[in-house]
Subunit: 318 residues, 2 copies
Amino acid sequence: MNGLYLADGILTYRTDLPRPQPGPDEALVRVTLVGICSTDLEMVKGYVPGFQGVLGHEFVGVVEESPDAAWHGRRVVASINIGCGECDVCRRDGPEHCPSRTVLGIHNRDGVFAEYVVVPLVNLLPVPDDVPDETAVFTEPLAAALRIREQVKVWPTAKTAVVGPGRLGLLIGQVLALAGTEVTMLGRREASLELPARLGLQTALVDSLPDDSFDFVVEATGNDAGFAHSLRLVRPLGTLILKSTFAGHSRIDLTKLVVGEINVVGSRCGPFAPALRLLARQEVAVQPLIDGEYPLSDGLAAFEHAARSGVRKILLRP
Amino acid sequence: MNGLYLADGILTYRTDLPRPQPGPDEALVRVTLVGICSTDLEMVKGYVPGFQGVLGHEFVGVVEESPDAAWHGRRVVASINIGCGECDVCRRDGPEHCPSRTVLGIHNRDGVFAEYVVVPLVNLLPVPDDVPDETAVFTEPLAAALRIREQVKVWPTAKTAVVGPGRLGLLIGQVLALAGTEVTMLGRREASLELPARLGLQTALVDSLPDDSFDFVVEATGNDAGFAHSLRLVRPLGTLILKSTFAGHSRIDLTKLVVGEINVVGSRCGPFAPALRLLARQEVAVQPLIDGEYPLSDGLAAFEHAARSGVRKILLRP
């Protein structure tokens, strides 16, 4: 089959990949649409040095084979962490932190930038008929945005900022606004603030605001400058959510963190069913984030496009 | 009067200081015993570049002058943050985070390494007769240790570690153990683990333990190596408390923080009344931490002693 394959930090489009074979309790899913996320871009830059295989984890597809016939022909999305199911961590916290987990297209398991992917049945979620592929493909990043609400109390009166109005930041901003919260999207350039403004969010240039301006700040840039601004902007006793994966080490001013008694919370994967519910209810605008769509065979060009400054979601169609 | 005065990063013993004049709603306290804390040592190293004045914030004393006669002759300790009392922060969170606060011996207000200090009446707390000065002088750092229990839920079944078995770490370890929690004190050298073991706490060398060993880790070293170990040792979804003030910037691996969804909480000053209650009930051993006592006039020698590796509490008697 065809797919985008990462090996030794080099991404290639291959036409010779074997079609994956589902094991017991797994489904074979024909991939219909995928999204490129910042983690994919980081991985191509070498963020997960050991990974070798088909890249990608944001997708929608149709079940072609399954031990449970009820799934046949169903349009699905799927959560991306697969735990051992037997360790203390799996029992207590679920698969996301299992030490021997695999993660679709990220860790020890082929991903979705291909014609087919194999996924455990327990990870599947059916997509309602009235949610188009171009919307359903945002389920994974929207779930990641919703993770924040599982971790901390988002109080409606909190002055809230999202640093980084990009492909993930805009989902986070919209999710937080659903609490009735006043959300300001912060970017480095005026152009990056146009879409958030169109989506009804407040906007500001990140360096135009004084220190300690917000109760609640979400860092969604994944770069050191974004982190430094986020820490600068959160008020003493405030909460700072780290939503983006950082590569390497960052130089942090821990003094403000201690003296200001800041609460910093790392945040990763989130719940799929609530994300799909919000998409079905059209509570979160996702299609305005789409900046381009490519056939899978043009995947390398799509990656170049996705890596350009200011570009949000790029889709690939196998 | 006599006192230890910090100016331009240089600490001197001076005999020409004016006796401070209490304002309205303030008491003049004759200082009877003070403790040197790591923050004092950091300040002499230049951690708060702008500070000029009498250093010190851990003390016990006797009220000599007060607008309220009920305080006359009372033995007291005092909380160290003085807020404006009128801003939103003071009203919502108390004086500890008031943007225009002063802090005894730390920020814009003379401290306690002198014969006399002036303190607002609202900051005073009477010391019970059966709590000796050598115990009461630990109220401030013990309050700082208790602050953790105001900020996060300390669950009794959590595997808990304190990195840094020093003057503050040993108070934190004892406070956490009072929840019935299994607390392990981690140090770099065997010699540093003798006192924690005598105090009934578990001990281990910090580099002898594998990654992700603890649910709950308190960083109490204030150095980058201690922070790196703390982040290494806390498990995914665990909590890391930063209890020590760091000077400058630290290089942090934010990847573990995000992927492991770690919760990092900065922690500073705590509640005095509960600290004094624990001291009165003899629930926390403090006098074994005393490694030396000097007259105030030998303050510079006392500072050298306090800065030596492995030394815990050094007291000064004005």
